[in-house]
């Protein structure tokens, strides 16, 4: 299993790979597609362990890539480069034997010799075993290099083959054979990542296609989903027709003829044209559905919220420079504002002043009495100052255009400071935006049997602080809901969603202060304090207090858990809500501070829940 988490790679100021995540299971053959310079080779080199990234991490079979020694890696992954210059005239057999170098010290074992024979037969080069590599044609050399890479992992299950354009220079038969071999390797339990330029080969041989653009992951899905006119146009800027091959029923991609026009330049006004069309659609839709909120309209139009906001550039929206850390450090000047953070199913709105803002390499922190936030700046991509229906706000979005955080100006805010802030951070050059394809979370969970459950449970019980929980998830490579499922006895109990309402009522009725966390991938907003006025409206469950509002879609809650995390200050109890995808919707704790045990009343509330309402299975 290979898991790539938010990796980025820079050379100087040029970002070659930006915030890429995906994971691959043994048995999978993944094809990387993208235009020249999209970051495909760089990504492979990062996964190969050659480039070290500053951000993000690569987990390979349960271990961080950086924790492998050179020789350990050599028996678990092989690399075929784009360029294969060999400086000395080795024979073909000698060169393939190099793939066995990680396995012997001075002379090869009988097994090594066998593997080389088998691989040479499989790749169809056995008859040239004694020939000098330098006298072969380019395509033949490429086959020898492929054989070398295969020999390196021939008997290693769960190992990783990284192939950078393996079929370059091969004739059509060997292109097909090479991919057939790679696919067979995948089926034998290897993981294969292969950079290709030929989309038709990808269509026939890939289990999955990942498309890169400008160093970012743009699409990730089956060949059927990804090899469509729209993605192909976005990635390669070519118009293509997709037809179905009648005999294989696979898609065939047929690029249309391109006329060469020397006056033609890639024109930023194209983007503006698209935006103007969108603006018209938006205006019409809004007129027809005056009650709908922008987020709903975005969903209805199948477009991102940021793109809709951007249609207002010049009128209702001012683009902001992507210098969000410095911008946020100035937000305290605005005085009393309202902070809004939401995910798909829950909105948290808290009024107050931004204070104590700092940024660490891992997260940004706002640690005020009222406004308490954790910010993950690597996801922050677009910012706008928006003025609509008399409400002014700063709004921030991720690369797919999904809202991460908003700051609303109130009557008590400092107007002048707001204007100054806009003057300092306006980005006049930005006329239109282009968003990335929304990540379909491909967080394939490891099967439960693959988790070292005993160690995991011991580590859980040994936590000294509830913050260690996240590290625990990473270490054992488990998702949150999986972790709860595999929790040690008595540390995670499944509840009914109604229990959450019950807990809110008990806390409100007894004036028990709580902490409510509402997370998305770019921001976690924490409300600390009492809750009072609880109101249910349709599917929405709301807290409607003067300083704090919460809106929660009860019907979206798929799992409700009572979770206990040990800490040096005693056990910490929480109630956690998850959606169908296993994404966290909300987390509630009793009010507490580091070094102080949690409130006894809260403990009673949480532990009483299971008695109050029957638990579900």
């Amino acid at each position: 299993m290979l898991t790539v988490n938010n990796i980025s790679f820079k050379v100087g100021h040029r970002t070659l790979v930006s915030d890429v995540s995906f994971s691959i299971r043994p048995g999978e053959m993944v094809v990387l597609l993208g235009a020249n310079g999209a970051g495909k080779s760089t990504l492979l080199k990062i996964i190969a362990g050659m480039h070290k990234t500053e951000n993000g991490q690569v987990l390979f079979n349960g271990k961080l890539l950086g924790e492998y020694t050179t020789s350990d890696l050599a028996i678990n992954r092989a690399v075929l480069n784009q360029q294969n210059n060999v400086s000395l005239p080795f024979t073909v057999a000698e060169l393939v034997m190099m793939g066995r170098y990680p396995y012997f010290k001075n002379s090869p074992s009988a097994n090594d010799v066998n593997v080389v024979d088998e691989v040479m037969k499989a790749t169809g080069i056995a008859q040239m075993a004694g020939r000098s590599y330098l006298t072969l044609s380019g395509g033949e050399q490429q086959r020898v290099q492929l054989a070398r890479a295969l020999a390196q992992l021939w008997q290693q299950k769960n190992s990783l083959l990284l192939m950078d354009e393996p079929v370059t220079g091969m004739d059509i038969l060997y292109q097909q054979q090479t991919l057939a071999i790679l696919k067979a390797m995948a089926r034998r339990g290897h993981m294969v990542i292969c950079v290709l330029h030929d989309m038709n080969l990808a269509s026939h041989y890939a289990d999955r296609v990942i498309m890169l653009k400008n160093g970012r992951k743009w699409y990730d899905g089956s060949p059927h989903e990804t090899l469509q006119p729209k993605p192909v146009y976005e990635i390669f800027e070519i118009e293509a027709d997709i037809v179905i091959n009648p005999s294989t029923l696979k898609q065939m991609i047929m690029p249309r003829e391109v006329a060469f026009n020397y006056k033609q330049t890639l024109n930023p006004t194209d983007m503006e044209t698209t935006q103007n069309n969108l603006k018209q659609r938006y205006t019409e839709y809004k007129a027809a559905n005056p009650k709908k909120r922008i987020r709903e309209i975005a969903a209805d139009l199948n477009i991102s919220e940021a793109e809709l906001v951007a249609t207002g550039i010049g009128e209702t929206a001012i683009p902001l420079k992507k210098d969000f850390e410095n911008l946020l450090k100035r937000v305290p000047e605005l005085g009393y504002v309202m902070a809004l953070t939401r995910n798909e199913y829950c909105v948290s709105e808290r009024k107050g002043v931004y204070e104590k803002i700092s940024f660490t390499p891992h997260a940004g922190l706002v640690l005020g009495e009222d406004i308490d936030l954790r910010l993950f700046m690597q996801h922050w991509q677009f910012g706008f100052a928006v003025s609509e229906n008399g409400r002014r706000s700063l709004q921030f979005f991720d690369k797919a255009g999904t809202a991460l955080h908003k700051i609303y100006i109130t009557d008590k805010s400092n107007e002048e400071a707001y204007q100054n802030l806009l003057n300092d951070f306006v980005d006049n050059s930005l006329k239109a935006i282009s968003v990335a394809h929304k990540d379909d979370k491909h967080n394939a969970e490891m099967p439960d049997e693959a988790v070292q459950v005993e160690d995991f449970q011991t580590a859980w019980k040994g936590m000294g602080d509830s913050h260690e929980f996240f590290g625990l998830l990473r270490r054992f490579n488990v998702s949150r809901t999986q972790a709860l499922r595999l929790a040690p006895e008595g540390f995670a109990k499944k509840l009914n969603a109604e229990n959450f309402k019950k807990a809110c009522e008990l806390c409100a009725g007894n004036h028990i202060p709580v902490m409510i966390f509402v997370p998305n991938h770019g921001c976690i907003q924490i409300h600390t304090g009492n809750i009072d006025k609880l109101v249910e409206m349709g599917p929405w469950y709301n807290v409607l207090d003067p300083e704090f509002n919460l809106h929660l879609r009860m019907d979206a809650i798929a799992e409700t858990w009572h979770v206990v995390k040990p800490s040096t200050d005693g056990d910490v109890n929480s109630i956690e809500l998850y959606d169908q995808q296993g994404e966290m919707i909300l987390q509630m704790f009793g009010k507490r501070k580091p070094g102080v045990p949690e409130l006894n009343e809260w403990r009673e509330v949480v532990n009483g829940l299971e008695i109050a309402i029957e638990p579900v299975n």
Binding site: N84, L88, Y101, S132
Partner: protein, 345 residues
């Protein structure tokens, strides 16, 4: 050629050339007598042999033979290793500055003797020269190595270019000192720059032996790594080779061997470049064999070259570097022309 056969032939060649080399010279000693004297020396028995001949063999010709063998082995194996590390068949130990540094230091010792080292006797003079040359070789190699270091690891292209620049600089300084030298110094400088095995004594052999034998024993263990290097440093790394360690290891050992040899013999050109090429043509390119075979072949080539240098216009002795270049250059050109396609340089 079969590898075993190759080793047998080269070793047989070394023994034959050795016996010939000990026998030939101003005083002719027949091969049978040479063998007898050597056998006596080894077994420790006395008598039977001509006392004068025995003295010539043990005091003059045997050390000279051994110096040739050691220096030849050092040049051969270092040449093969350096070509492997640089992934360049035209590389030779001179590229990492060893020869130029040694030359500069040696020429400086000779040229400035009167000014700086006044009063030094001839006995000390020879050792001063050797020590100076060794230090010069080491310091230059160290400077080039440090210039080429980027983020703690030597960059081979930078190293090659830095080597060219430092070689040119050292060459210019050597030229300057030569220009200012006296008649007698000039003869000494020329003699040193063209190489000679004339300085061989048991003392020098014992001093030199560890510097050559240690690399000759250790370097072949890097054969596999150097093979992987031919795929490029990145791919070598993917194959589990600790690229930086191998580079440091090979450069250190090569510098040590060549620096020590050159400091005692002067510059002997073409051995380090040519020997590995001939070896590869005969037994293939697998460095696990090329390295030890180059050591043996280098030893053989230098022994033969010295034999020719001493005997061809006896009693006058030609500088050995002249012989190696005179024979080596045409042979190298012949190989180049014949195997242009195969070498693909």
């Amino acid at each position: 050629m079969n590898k075993k056969l190759f080793y047998i032939l080269v070793i047989a060649g070394i023994i034959t050339a050795g016996i010939l080399s000990i026998g030939l010279g101003a005083v002719h000693i027949p091969p049978a007598e040479v063998a007898g004297i050597l056998a006596n020396k080894i077994t420790g028995s006395v008598g039977g042999a001509n006392q004068q001949h025995e003295a010539i063999v043990t005091i003059v010709r045997l050390p000279r033979l051994l110096l040739g063998l050691l220096a030849g082995a050092a040049l051969g194996i270092s040449g093969a290793s350096i070509q492997g590390i640089f992934r360049n068949p035209l590389a030779e130990p001179g590229l990492i500055g060893v020869s130029a540094g040694a030359s500069l230091a040696a020429v400086a010792v000779i040229g400035l003797e009167g000014i700086l080292f006044a009063g030094l006797s001839n006995l000390l003079g020879y050792y001063l020269l050797a020590f100076g040359a060794f230090a010069g070789a080491g310091v230059t190699a160290l400077i080039i190595y440090n210039i080429s270091k980027h983020e703690g690891r030597p960059n081979i292209t930078t190293m090659l270019l830095a080597g060219i620049a430092i070689n040119a600089l050292a060459g210019a300084l050597t030229g300057l000192i030569t220009y200012l030298a006296t008649e007698q110094q000039l003869r000494n400088i020329t003699f040193w720059l063209l190489g000679s095995l004339g300085g061989a004594t048991w003392q020098t052999i014992i001093t030199l032996a560890p510097f050559v034998l240690l690399p000759a024993i250790l370097l072949p263990f890097s054969g596999k790594a150097l093979n992987a290097f031919s795929l490029g440093e990145a791919q070598a790394g993917y194959l589990g080779i600790d690229v930086d360690k191998v580079k440091k290891h090979v450069i250190l050992l090569s510098t040590m061997a060549v620096g020590a040899a050159v400091s005692l013999t002067g510059i002997i050109s073409f051995v380090g470049l040519l020997v590995p090429h001939i070896v590869r043509l005969l037994i293939g390119v697998d460095n696990a064999h090329v390295l030890p075979a180059s050591a043996l072949s280098g030893a053989l080539m230098l022994t033969l070259a010295d034999l020719i240098a001493r005997t061809i216009i006896a009693p006058i002795e030609l500088p050995i570097g002249v012989i190696t270049a005179l024979i080596g250059a045409p042979v190298f050109l012949y190989i180049l022309i014949r195997d242009k396609r195969k070498l693909m340089i």
